[in-house]
C-alpha cells in the first residue's frame, strides 16, 4: 500500500487570472449571428407533428419558431418560444438538447447534423430580451394571492403564468438572487450570472414580487444568523395566501458516510458549484481533485475543477456504461482532460489536517441487475490509495423532507412530493413542481411543471369560488 505525504504549499492552486478564467469558462454554445441563424433555420424541414417538439418537455412549437427566424421575424419566433416556455433563454443554453429536441430531429435519421435548435432558440430569445420586447401582461385581477416558495425555474415559470392569469404573486427565495440552479448550479460555460440575472429581470418585469434572502421555515427556531437574511413562517403564508406553490428544488449533497468526510477539503458538488457560481469562478481548488460519482453534476464539478487548473479524477463504482451522465457531457469532460476511473469504491478519505488521498477498493462485475445496471462485488485485497488534495462528492442530493413533513397531509414518495396531473399535492392548498417533484431533472422540466401548476392553481381557485 502506498502512503504519500503532500507538502502544505502545493495543496491548493492559486485563483486563476481573470483573463484565464474568461477564456476557460467561455460559452460552449456561442450565440449565432443573424446570417448563421438564417442559414441554419433554412435547413429545417418544418416537419408535421414534429418529433423535436414532441421531445421538448415544454412543448415549444420548434418548426414554427425556426420558420419565423427563417422569414426574418425573430420577434414572432421569440413569442412562439415564450408562449410555451418563459425561461426559453436559459433552456436554449442549458438544455441537454442532444437527448431532447436535437436528438429527435429527423435529420439524425438521414445521418445528417440535426438542426441546431438550442442556438436558434437562443438567437430568438436574446433578440427579444436585448430589445426588451415583452409579450405578456398582468391578467384581469382575480383578487387572489399565491405564494411561491423558491425562485428557481419552476417557481419563476409558475409566478409568471399566475400573473398572466391575474393573481397577485410573491416569490420567496432564500438566496441572495433568484434563478435557482440557473444562478447557483448549472455550469458557467453554459449560463453566466449575468445571463441568469437578465432572465430573472425579463421574466419578473410582468409584475410579480420576488423577496430574496427570505427563507420560508416551518418553525421560528430556524432563524438565520445574518441580519440581512429573513425568515418567514409557513403558517403565516398559509393564512395570507389562497394557494402555495412549492418549487424548492433539492437539498444538500448526500454525504458519503465514510471516515474522513469532515476534512476541510471535502465538499459536496452542489455546495462546491454554489461557491463557484457565487464567486464568479474566482475560487481555488486542489492541485489534484477526486470527484466521486458519475452523474451530470459530478461531471460538471470535474470539468469546472479542471478549468480552474486541477488534475481531476472521477471515481465511479460501476462501469462507464452504467454512469448516468450524458455521453456528450463525458466527452466534454475528457476533452477538458478529466480522467475516469471505473469500478472503484472509496472507503475512506485519508489525511490528518488536510485531505491527502482517497482509500479505494477495486470492484468486479458479477452480472446485471433488474434495472440493467452492472452488479458489482469488491475484489478482496484490491485496496489502494489515490493521492489527492481535494474531494468532491456527487452521489445525489438530499430532499427537503423535514420541511415537507411540517405540512399536514402532504404525501411524499421516496422524498419527492406526490402531485396529481394538476400539480396539486395531497394538501389541496399546496401545489408543487420542479426538482422537488421529479427528484431532479432538467431546467426545462421544472419550467413545464411550474407553468402547468399555475394553470392547476387557477382551476382550483376558480372551482373554489363556484
Amino acid at each position: 500500500m502506498i502512503e504519500i505525504s503532500i507538502k502544505e504549499t502545493t495543496r491548493l492552486l492559486p485563483i486563476p487570472e481573470e483573463a484565464t478564467l474568461t477564456k476557460s469558462f467561455s460559452n460552449i454554445k456561442p450565440a449565432l449571428s443573424a446570417g448563421e441563424a438564417m442559414i441554419e433555420a433554412s435547413r429545417c424541414l418544418f416537419c408535421h407533428d414534429a418529433p423535436c417538439t414532441q421531445a421538448c418537455p415544454s412543448s415549444i412549437d420548434i418548426p414554427m419558431f425556426i420558420r419565423q427566424i427563417m422569414s426574418q421575424n425573430p420577434k414572432g419566433a421569440a413569442k412562439t418560444i415564450f408562449t410555451q416556455n418563459i425561461l426559453g433563454k436559459s433552456c436554449a443554453s442549458v438544455c441537454p438538447t442532444q437527448v431532447l429536441c436535437e436528438g429527435a430531429c429527423v435529420y439524425n435519421d438521414m445521418n445528417e447534423k440535426p438542426i441546431d435548435i438550442g442556438r436558434l432558440q437562443g438567437f430568438a430569445t436574446d433578440y427579444a430580451i436585448e430589445n426588451n420586447i415583452r409579450f405578456f401582461q398582468k391578467g384581469q385581477p382575480t383578487r387572489k394571492k399565491v405564494a411561491v416558495i423558491g425562485g428557481g425555474p419552476a417557481g419563476l415559470a409558475c409566478a409568471h403564468e399566475l400573473t398572466v392569469l391575474g393573481y397577485e404573486v410573491v416569490v420567496y427565495e432564500a438566496h441572495e438572487k433568484a434563478g435557482g440552479l440557473n444562478a447557483y448550479g448549472v455550469a458557467p460555460y453554459k449560463f453566466t450570472n449575468a445571463d441568469a440575472a437578465e432572465e430573472v429581470d425579463y421574466v419578473s418585469q410582468i409584475g410579480f414580487t420576488i423577496k430574496t434572502k427570505t427563507r420560508v421555515v416551518a418553525q421560528t427556531e430556524e432563524t438565520t444568523s445574518s441580519s440581512d437574511y429573513h425568515t418567514v413562517l409557513l403558517n403565516d403564508l398559509e393564512k395570507d395566501y389562497d394557494a402555495i406553490f412549492l418549487g424548492m428544488g433539492l437539498g444538500e449533497s448526500k454525504k458519503l458516510g465514510i471516515p474522513g468526510e469532515n476534512l476541510p477539503e471535502v465538499q459536496g458538488a452542489a455546495e462546491f458549484i454554489y461557491q463557484l457560481r457565487k464567486e464568479e469562478q474566482k475560487i481555488s481548488v486542489g492541485r489534484r481533485v477526486v470527484v466521486i460519482g458519475a452523474g451530470n453534476t459530478a461531471i460538471d464539478a470535474a470539468v469546472e475543477s479542471a478549468k480552474l487548473g486541477a488534475d481531476v479524477q472521477v471515481l465511479y463504482h460501476r462501469t462507464a456504461q452504467d454512469q448516468s451522465a450524458y455521453d456528450f457531457e463525458v466527452a466534454h469532460a475528457k476533452a477538458a482532460n478529466v480522467k475516469f476511473c471505473y469500478l472503484v469504491t472509496p472507503s475512506e478519505i485519508i489525511g490528518s489536517q488536510h485531505v491527502e488521498g482517497v482509500r479505494c477498493l477495486q470492484n468486479e462485475v458479477t452480472g446485471v441487475d433488474d434495472r440493467g445496471k452492472s452488479k458489482i462485488n469488491p475484489i478482496l485485497g484490491s485496496e489502494f490509495v489515490l493521492p489527492c488534495d481535494m474531494v468532491i462528492y456527487a452521489t445525489g442530493q438530499e430532499k427537503q423532507v423535514r420541511f415537507y413533513h411540517s405540512i399536514s397531509g402532504l404525501t411524499l414518495e421516496h422524498g419527492k412530493i406526490l402531485v396529481n396531473p394538476n400539480y396539486q399535492t395531497t394538501h389541496p392548498k399546496y401545489f408543487a413542481g420542479g426538482d422537488c417533484v421529479n427528484g431532479g431533472k432538467e431546467v426545462v422540466n421544472a419550467v413545464a411543471h411550474g407553468r402547468d401548476a399555475a394553470r392547476g392553481i387557477h382551476r382550483y381557485l376558480l372551482g373554489e369560488k363556484n
Partner: protein
C-alpha cells in the same frame, strides 16, 4: 398592434392571406382546417363541368438541396360533383361566417355561368373568381387561358357574369400572355370588381435521362403544365406592378405566385396587391405556415408605424418605371468588406469571366479588390457572394444631374426628344 383586416373589393376578411384555388381548397374539410389555422380567406377549387384527372400530376424543379423551387401540374379543375362542392361551401360559411369564401368557376355557356353563380350565392359565398387562366386541358376546350389570352372574350364572359352576380367578382388572369395589362383592362371593361394574378405558367419540368420521358409522366408521356412556386414570384411581381402602375387600371389586385412568407406577401402588397393568395407553399408545408405570415406581417406594420394593411398597399408600384425613365447618371460601385470576406473568390471569377473584368486578385491575401474605375455597378459580384452584406454597392457621387435616355447625347433621337 396593426389590424390585418381587409376589405378587398367589398369582400371582408380577417386578414389578407387567402388560399388560392387549387388542391388545398379541394374540400370543405381542408378549408375549415385552413380557417382554424388562421387563413383569412379561401378561393374554392375551380367549379365547372365534370372532368377527369390523370395520374401522375405534378413535377418539380429542385435547386441543389432545395426542394420544389418550382412546381408544375397537369391537373384540371375540381373533379368532384358540383352538388358536393356547393354543400361543403355552405357548411364552411355556416361555421366561419366571417372568413372570406370565394367560388372559383369556369364554364362554357352563359346559362352555365348564371346557374352556378345563383347556386353559390344561395349558400352565402362572399365573391367569385373567374378562372381565365388554367393553361392546360381546359383551354383546348375554349376555357381557362383561352379566355384570358383573348381580351374580347375575357370582357364578354366577365360581362355575362356581372349580369347575374350580386357579390364581388374577381377575374383571375393568366401570365401566358405578352401584355398582362390588355387582359386586366378587358376585365375592367367587362365590369369586374377586381383581378387576381398570376395563374400558372406554361412549362415542362424535366426529362428523365434514363427513360427519355418528360415529367410528370403519364405512362411515358406528358403535357405542358402550369408552373408555380417560389420560382415564379419575380414574374408575378412584374405583372402585378404592370397593372398597378397602369394609368387606366383602377381595380383592386389579389397577388398570387410563389408566396410563402410574410415577406413575400409584403412585397406583393407594396407592389399594389391588397390581398394575396397561396397555393404551392401550402402544398409543401401545410396550413400552419400562416402563423408566421400573420405575426410577421403584423410586426412589420408595427415597425413601419402602420395601422392597417391598406397603409402598405402600393408604395412600390410607381417606382417600377419604363427603362427610358431611369437616371443614366446614377452610379454605384462594388465595395468588399475585408473583415467578413471568406476568400472564396467567386466574385472575382464571376466578374472576370462573366461580366466586366473589374475585380483584381491581390498578393498576400485572398480578399479581392474592386477596380472602381472600370466597375459598372452591375451587382453581379454582390449577388454571388455567399456572405451577407460582404459586398455592398456604394453610391458614387458623379456630380452630374439626372439624365434620362431621351436627353442623352448617345441617343440618335435626342434633339427630337427634347424639343
Amino acid at each position: 398592434m396593426a389590424d390585418l383586416k381587409i376589405n378587398f373589393a367589398g369582400i371582408i376578411a380577417p386578414n389578407p392571406f387567402w388560399l388560392a384555388s387549387a388542391p388545398p381548397t379541394n374540400t370543405g374539410y381542408q378549408v375549415m382546417r385552413a380557417f382554424e389555422a388562421g387563413w383569412g380567406g379561401a378561393v374554392w377549387k375551380t367549379l365547372g363541368q365534370p372532368i377527369v384527372n390523370v395520374s401522375s400530376r405534378y413535377g418539380a424543379l429542385n435547386y441543389k438541396n432545395d426542394r420544389m423551387m418550382g412546381l408544375n401540374n397537369i391537373e384540371l379543375i375540381t373533379d368532384r360533383p358540383l352538388e358536393v362542392n356547393i354543400r361543403e361551401m355552405k357548411e364552411v360559411k355556416e361555421r366561419f361566417p366571417n372568413h372570406a369564401l370565394i367560388a372559383s368557376m369556369m364554364f362554357e355557356t352563359k346559362e352555365e355561368w348564371h346557374d352556378c353563380i345563383k347556386r353559390c350565392e344561395d349558400v352565402g359565398v362572399d365573391g367569385f373568381e373567374l378562372n381565365f387562366g388554367c393553361p392546360h386541358g381546359m383551354c383546348e376546350r375554349g376555357m381557362g387561358s383561352a379566355v384570358g389570352q383573348n381580351p374580347d372574350v375575357c370582357e364578354k364572359i366577365t360581362s355575362w357574369v356581372m349580369e347575374a352576380a350580386t357579390k364581388p367578382v374577381i377575374v383571375k388572369l393568366t401570365p401566358n400572355i405578352t401584355d398582362i395589362t390588355k387582359a386586366g383592362l378587358a376585365a375592367q371593361r367587362g365590369g369586374a370588381n377586381a383581378v387576381s394574378l398570376i395563374n400558372t405558367i406554361n412549362s415542362v419540368t424535366r426529362v428523365d435521362l434514363e427513360t427519355f420521358e418528360p415529367m410528370p409522366s403519364v405512362n411515358g408521356y406528358s403535357t405542358h403544365g402550369g408552373y408555380c412556386g417560389p420560382a415564379v414570384k419575380p414574374i408575378a411581381l412584374n405583372m402585378v406592378s404592370a397593372l398597378a402602375a397602369h394609368p387606366d387600371f383602377h381595380l383592386p389586385i389579389s397577388g398570387i405566385g410563389g408566396i410563402e412568407t410574410w415577406r413575400d406577401s409584403a412585397e406583393f402588397i407594396l407592389m399594389g396587391a391588397s390581398s394575396v393568395q397561396v397555393c404551392t407553399a401550402v402544398m409543401h408545408y401545410g396550413f400552419r405556415i400562416v402563423t408566421d405570415m400573420i405575426t410577421g406581417m403584423s410586426d412589420y406594420l408595427d415597425s413601419k408605424n402602420m395601422k392597417a394593411i391598406e397603409d402598405l398597399v402600393g408604395h412600390t408600384a410607381h417606382r417600377v418605371k419604363r427603362w427610358e425613365e431611369l437616371d443614366l447618371n446614377y452610379k454605384v460601385v462594388a465595395h468588399i468588406d475585408p473583415g467578413t470576406c471568406i476568400g472564396c473568390q467567386l466574385c472575382y471569377i464571376a466578374c472576370e469571366d462573366g461580366a466586366h473584368q473589374s475585380i483584381a486578385l491581390q498578393e498576400g491575401t485572398r480578399v479581392p479588390a474592386i477596380k472602381e474605375e472600370s466597375c459598372v455597378g452591375c451587382n453581379l459580384c454582390s449577388l454571388v457572394c455567399p456572405v451577407d452584406d460582404c459586398i455592398s454597392m456604394v453610391k458614387v457621387n458623379t456630380g452630374k444631374e439626372k439624365l434620362v435616355w431621351a436627353e442623352h447625347p448617345a441617343n440618335p433621337h435626342q434633339i427630337a426628344a427634347i424639343h
